[in-house]
Amino acid sequence: MDYKELISLALSNLKGNFLRTLLTMLGIIIGIASVIIIMSMGQGATASIVDRISTLGANTVNIYPGARRRGPGAISETVTSLVLKDVEAIRKLEDVEAVSGVVSGRTSVSYQGNNISSSINGVEADYQLIQSLEVDLGSFFDKSQVKGMSKVAVIGIDVVSELFEEGEETLGKVIRVDGKSFRVIGVLEQNDASGMSNPNEAIYIPLDTMMKTVIGQNYLGSISVLAVDSEAVDGVVEDVDSLLMDRHEILDEDLKDFTIMNFQEMISTISNVTGILTTLLSAIAAISLLVGGIGIMNIMLVTVTERTREIGLLKSIGAKNNHILTQFLLEAVVLTVTGGLIGVAIGTGASFIIAKAVDIPFIVKLSSIGIAVGVSSLVGVVFGYYPARSAAKLNPIDALRYE
């Protein structure tokens, strides 16, 4: 069979009925374009989230009390399993660069009649390193201030603008946190990371002060650990796991009273969620492909009927059943693939505009385009087969006599 000839034949047949061809392709065009747009947006959003999480520190490992939480924001009951002695034990582990216990809460903060509600975090001196918090003015508190339960605070840039007048001196000023006086010793630089806790909106005070004076609890909200480098993260996770199992005298893996999370894991969790969402939405968009496919089957059946005499003529000059089948099948496939390519072009263009509009990276993977073209040719084969076969099976005499 001369496929080149047959494809150019199919193209000229499709061009011969331009409006009908375009309308028939519309279902495929819309279907492919929406699948491309949804996949592009899903991948762009994932990339954007992953990027933000990575700036939080890919070498960081967090330990939370209680059994495994699924995804960020899961509600867990108060679990008191993590204590300061766990922190000290972790500090001695190999490949641990820094470690800090964390106790967080929300409380009222006031300065000269300005009253705001703010996130307040009791942390150790190492926390600055772990979260790579840059200090703009003054300094972060040190170890001795933590152990000495100093009433000092380091505050985020947004807290400053809410609490103080513009241009007002902040260092050395005394703010009231939950009714207790704290002296401001540091202001953080603008921080780009926007994770679960935004440093720009937070107040940091020494951990021991937080635990004993502010909320009065002897257990930790979490422990943050910084591994020496990203290769060491997995080892640190394992070591912390066995250390804490040991210390908490837990034998059964399923009964652990703590959860270790690192950002790698979080990234993969989020990618998973967005991946599932993208697949689901693409599947919905793909319904349009099904509808488009049925439209193509319909039009191909009409075409076969219209061209019955042509088929009779072709058979009389020696076309075998397979020749006719191939010709009509190819016509359906050329139709759907052309529609698919137009859909890819429209989808890519629209994705670009949307990505710019909502400020996410513009990603259209080659694999998405490959899948789109593959799926559209599959639609052509599946829905073109029945009409093509009925064309091939026409009796030549009946076809020649058809009026």
């Binding site: 000839e5 000059i317 020696g318 075998k320």
Partner: protein, 229 residues
């Protein structure tokens, strides 16, 4: 010297069954056509001449009796083998709808060679040669719907000739064109016959049948006369 038979009908019957109704279109006809003959098969509508043409053209097979095309028994062939037979042994010229729409004259003539698996270069070369021989080479790149009725029939003849078939089977080839052009086409067929082509003409018009050297007349599914000039 005896010329060999290209077509041999032996007691051929054809019965069409439509539901409970049986219609016998051919009631046992026998004849032979030899290489180089120019035969007209004539008869009124319902005489069985179309059925005869379908069988000669390997578009249909007899219900009973045997039809030998070049000594091959067509009745034993399947769809694809019949298609190959039509492709190689028979050149059809129809009354109307002879050419593929939206297709150039050249591509129309090339088409039977495509089904025979001949390469694109050879196809073009042979098609141009045949178009030249029917005197229409200058229209090669025109679309089939942009040429006149007489030209369409010439292109159809070119396509019929291009595979070098055993017979040219023309079914009312002048039915759709004016009488002046019709006579030109018939003269052209007569010329092809003088050059050695075997031609079978199906028609109901006596003045067209006159161009043939032999006239077989059918009536009600039987041969009522078989005259040679």
């Amino acid at each position: 010297m005896k010329k060999k038979s290209i077509i041999s009908f032996k007691d051929v019957t054809k019965t069409y069954v439509t539901g409970p109704v049986k219609h016998q279109a051919l009631k046992g006809i026998s004849f032979e056509i030899k290489k180089g003959e120019f035969t007209a098969i004539v008869g009124a509508s319902g005489s069985g001449k179309s059925t005869t043409m379908n069988i000669i053209g390997a578009l249909d097979i007899p219900t009973k009796g045997t039809y030998l095309l070049n000594n091959k028994n067509i009745s034993e062939y399947n769809d694809d083998e019949l298609a190959e037979m039509r492709n190689k042994e028979i050149g059809f010229v129809f009354q109307s709808f002879n050419l593929l729409p939206r297709t150039t004259v050249l591509k129309n003539v090339e088409r039977p060679m495509m089904y025979a698996g001949i390469s694109a270069d050879k196809r073009k070369e042979r098609a141009m040669k045949v178009l030249k021989s029917v005197g229409i080479a200058e229209k090669a790149d025109n679309l089939s719907n942009h040429i006149s009725g007489g030209q369409i029939q010439r292109v159809a003849i070119a396509r019929a000739l291009v595979m070098n078939p055993s017979i040219i089977l023309a079914d009312e080839p002048t039915g759709n064109i004016d009488s002046k052009t019709a006579h030109e086409i018939m003269k052209f067929l007569a010329k092809l016959n003088r050059e050695g082509n075997t031609i079978i003409l199906i028609t109901h018009e006596n003045h067209i049948a006159k161009y043939a050297k032999r006239i077989i007349t059918l009536k009600d599914g039987k041969i009522i006369s078989d005259k040679k000039k």
